[in-house]
Symmetry: C2
Subunit: 249 residues, 2 copies
């Protein structure tokens, strides 16, 4: 079983590392950015190239959604399985005569942040049962949580993740902007943030809501608005409106 990972970004790095840690041999890591590939190659002891794509049985494409289609056309071999790792794209975005699949890890990846791979849910979609078994076998070496998912469902998983992760992180960024502006150390807020997340393990998020909007504390809302401007003010208004709609206030 010869495996090639394509890409040199956050997902490619962590995919290669997860394979490495589980002693799943990777024949090559391939991409455009020679410098990044070299770093990954040296850390994980995997051959790399930005010129010559090796012959393999399985190619895992870990590039940004915009590039998946064009990258998929670099694979000219027919008798092989190609997987993309996008939460958003259908497997048919892959353009070639090979067998197509999706291999989606639901996680946020940054190169500088270590991850516990076994907790990452993997969502798999293939053209046939044999390929499904193969990808399940590989994913199950990495993760305890491997599932089949249609593209239709995966799109919504991805969209939910944008709310629960990307937007949450952006709220942290805007929150830090506010506290920085008053020289308030952001680490004051870490116990609060931890608790906000721990709560949803025990209480439905809808039932766990606190704060001035759900209390319909109009005076606080108005005075808060005076402390804000631009995008933070827009977020403030939009979120409060949405909270008040959800609780019919």
């Amino acid at each position: 079983m010869q495996i090639v990972i394509i890409g040199s970004g956050n997902v490619a790095y962590h995919m290669a590392k997860a394979f490495s840690l589980k002693k799943i041999p990777v024949l090559q890591i391939f991409g455009r950015n020679g410098e990044e590939l070299k770093k990954i190659s040296e850390e994980l002891d995997i051959p790399y190239s930005n010129e010559y794509l090796e012959n393999a049985d399985l190619y895992i494409i870990c590039v940004s959604d915009n590039s998946v289609e064009s990258v998929s056309q670099l694979i000219t071999k027919k008798d092989c399985l190609v997987a993309h790792t996008s939460g958003f794209l259908p497997k048919e975005i892959l353009k070639g005569a090979y067998r197509k699949s999706s291999f989606y890890p639901l996680q946020t990846f940054s190169k500088s942040k270590e991850l516990d791979y076994k907790k990452i849910p993997f969502f798999i979609e293939t053209e046939n049962v044999g390929d499904k078994q193969l990808l399940f076998e590989i994913a199950s070496k990495i993760s305890e949580n491997v599932m089949e998912s249609s593209h239709e469902k995966r799109k919504y998983i991805h969209l939910t993740a944008v709310f629960a992760c990307n937007f949450v992180n952006h709220l942290f960024a805007r929150a830090k902007e506010i506290s920085d502006s008053q020289n308030i150390p952001f680490n004051y807020f870490l116990p609060l943030i931890d608790e906000t997340v721990q709560k949803i393990y025990e209480i439905e998020p809808k039932a766990a809501q606190t704060g001035p909007a759900v209390r319909n504390d109009v005076r606080v809302l108005e005075l808060h608005e005076q402390l804000l401007k631009d995008e933070s003010l827009e977020i403030y208004k939009t979120m409060n409106h949405s909270i008040q709609k959800m609780y019919e206030l």
Copy 2:
């Protein structure tokens, strides 16, 4: 030192419990809602009343921002210290001839969720040094993290908390609404949510941003919008706009 806690909601309950656990005697828990008071009283073995307010040296008002002023007028004693627990209000909201103070625990409180009180930052503001020492002494029995804070600064701490906690929880609620609509179990997203928070212990939130908006993946953004409606769509647009502004995309 006679202490009375006023209120029967989430903050009053946890304040009384934190005092109880540290064997700080509470003379009485006082409020309007006799039924809730009785429950707290029975759990924590603290006398309660919804009629007669005991004579005390320190009253800690744990009621919603809207009610602090009117509740503060129930205290007719002069030689005592009164503290409110609001992040938002000035200590001058307290209307009486007593000494005024603020005793703000930065945390999100739900009765059904246990808390590690020692990690909760307490922000204290008083009229004089003696009262400051007193409140520091009490708060330091509960928490490892007790600080002085002006009302001006506290307002911004509270506002930051709204972004980092209340709005984050609302994003979880809207995210769950999306996943529920497709019968996708919300617990799939818990490792992702945990990692989103763990990241900010190591990486600045601004540097940790991932997702289609920061990659300026316009096609994904457009197609996601087609899957959304009403408040979730508004949140989607507002957050993406704010992300793109922050990164000058």
